[in-house]
Each structure stands twice: as C-alpha cells, then as structure tokens.
Symmetry: C2
Subunit: 216 residues, 2 copies
Amino acid sequence: MRDRKAATREHLLICAQQLVASAGFSGLQMQQLANHAGVATGTLYRYFPAKEQLAAEVFKRATRIEVAQVAQALTVSAAAPAQIAHALNVFAQRALRAPTLAWALIAEPVEAAVDQQRLQFRQQYAELFATSIQRGIDNQQLPAQNAQLSSTAIVGAIAEALIGPLAQVSRHTEANTPQPSTTVVDDIVQFCLRGLLAAPYSTATTHRLIQENADD
Amino acid sequence: MRDRKAATREHLLICAQQLVASAGFSGLQMQQLANHAGVATGTLYRYFPAKEQLAAEVFKRATRIEVAQVAQALTVSAAAPAQIAHALNVFAQRALRAPTLAWALIAEPVEAAVDQQRLQFRQQYAELFATSIQRGIDNQQLPAQNAQLSSTAIVGAIAEALIGPLAQVSRHTEANTPQPSTTVVDDIVQFCLRGLLAAPYSTATTHRLIQENADD
C-alpha cells in the first residue's frame, strides 16, 4: 500500500515535470495534469492539495539534478579556472538543450513558494563555486578575492545572461529549434572567467573610477 | 472628485511602500495597510481589489526610482569604465542604505505578478548598461565584447551578490544597523569591472579551459 502510494506520487511528479518542460510552470494546471497522468482530479488533490506545493516539488527535483551536474563538473582533475569554466559550460549547455524547462527554473514568474526554492538553490550553486574558487586561491591558481562574493556574482551572471537566449530558443517549435548558440555560452564563460581571473584592481583604482567626475 | 481619488490612491501607495520598506512584501497585508493609511478596508479594496496588484504597483514605483538613479549615474562625463563603476556603486550603496526595501525588490519570494515586474526592470537596467558598454567599445575604452550579454551578466552579478549582504544588514534593528560594508560594494564593482575590462580570452583558450580533463 505504501509502495503504491509512493509509486503514484512519483508518477504524478514525472508527469508534472513533463508539463513544465513543455510549457513552463504556467502550463502546470491541476486538471490538465490529472488528464496527462490518467488519474481523477480528486486523486491528484489528495497527493498535492495545492498547486503551489506541487510546483515547488517539481522545481526542487529538477534543480537537484542540475546542481548535481555542476557539482560533478567541478570535480574534474584540473586547475580551478578550468574546473569552473567546465562547470559553467555544463550548466549553460544543459540549459540551452532544454530551454523551456531551464527558463521555468531560472526566470519564469512563479508563486512565492517556488521563488523560495530558487533562493535556496542559488545558494547551493554559489557554495559549490565558492569551494572551487577558494581552492584556486589557496593553490595560487586564482588571485586573492572574496570567494563567496565572486561565487554569487558568477551564479547571478550566468543565470541572468541566459534568460534572454533561453526565452528566444524556447519560443521555437521543436522541429525548428536552432542549435544552442555556442557564442552565447562562450561569452558567458569568458565574462565569468575574466571576473575571477584578471588581476584585481586595487581599491584605490576602483575608488578613482567610481568617483571620476561623479560630482558633475 | 477625480483629484481626491488620485490623492487617496497616492496616499495608499505611499503607505504600502512604507510597510514594504520596513518588513518586505510579506509585511504588506491589506488589513494592516488599511489601519496604517487610516481608511476602511472596503475603501482599500475599491482601489486595489487584489494584494498581488498592489504589490506589483509598489514594486514598479520603487524600482522606477532606482532605475532613474542608475540612468543618472551613467551620464557622468567620464570614460565608460568609470561611468559603469559609478553606476554600480550608486546601485549597491543605495541598496545597502535601505536594505529591507532593496531585499524586497531584488530577492524576496513574491507573487508571480511581482516576479513579472522584476524581469522587466532587470531588462531596463541591462539596456542602460548595454548602451554604456557599447559606447565604451566604440570609443575603445572597453575591449570588444557582446555588450548585451555583458550587461545582463553585470546586472545578474550585482543583484545576486547583494542578496546575502542585504539579508544580513536588514536583520539588524535600525538602532543597531552596521555601516554598509564598503568592502562588499568594492568587491562587487571590481568583479564587474574585471569582467568588462580585462583582455578577453580567445575562444580557443576558453575552449581549452572548458575541455581540460573534462573527460576524466
């Protein structure tokens, strides 16, 4: 009995993710999911009393897979800059290969419960990158910097930079899907690497730039 | 009559923004707002039938002011890197001076209607920075790069990097507010400037880094 319940729950979540992957969270409607999963609407509501809760669960499961891929990419035996380049590339390429799902996970306007999950997962990504950045600093493969800040900056940079391209790619029908733009991915990876790797400006230089003619 | 209606609407929006500035969007409750504004709850609902709509309006008004500040900062007569450094500094300093409001605008889990506004305003920020970056490229003050991509990357980087510090600062009571951390702001500005300014890696170098031992 407990097994059957777990199996039904799993089936419902897989079907829900299929709907999100094809039309985003706005395409996840309870009636439509019941039809797609071949269950009565009442059954669906017994498993997931609120759509918000179902959406948060779909988000969590789908994002956990992406976080694991990034974690895996950061374990390649290479210096920190190459590990990070590789992980950013994996993240971006995977997103562009499943653009509607990626757009739903990264940027789609959603209920607060899903936003809450987004905040938590962004922090998980940042912690993974921060560990790699800190190791790079310790091994003198990266210049001294605030590893935590740099890691959140690259997580924000890659997510925000992908939003436009994802929206563009996911608007095309499957038959007509353009190839994931290598240029976009390269540009994102390069921006992040420059941010991490270039010789840091001194505080004095930064202040001079900030203040330059700021009183005009 | 029309004037009085407009004045009441304005009064309600100002009171609503005060609630958001002190406790975030989760602190914006219809009953509490009616009390704070000194109107009957029924009156409030006549002006704003749904909380989601009210929240989206508060978001729009508050963010419009921040966008105008960034636009203004980008007009200082200086080379593009200094303009951008100045604008990023203005954005971050203003956020850290009103941390609860800034956290609400940038990161708080909210209704989908507010998320929608967030997407649009992020695009407005990106367009402002893109114009400045493109001018910098044209004037050879910045290396050749995809101005649109770099601009979304810095918007994402500064927003994401501020989330942690904002949450930390806004947890303190007003009497006990720590000074906005200059270090955090410097680190953010420096990361973004490095991303924009450092000599870009060749595509070949980027590919080499991405692939290095990636098949282990």
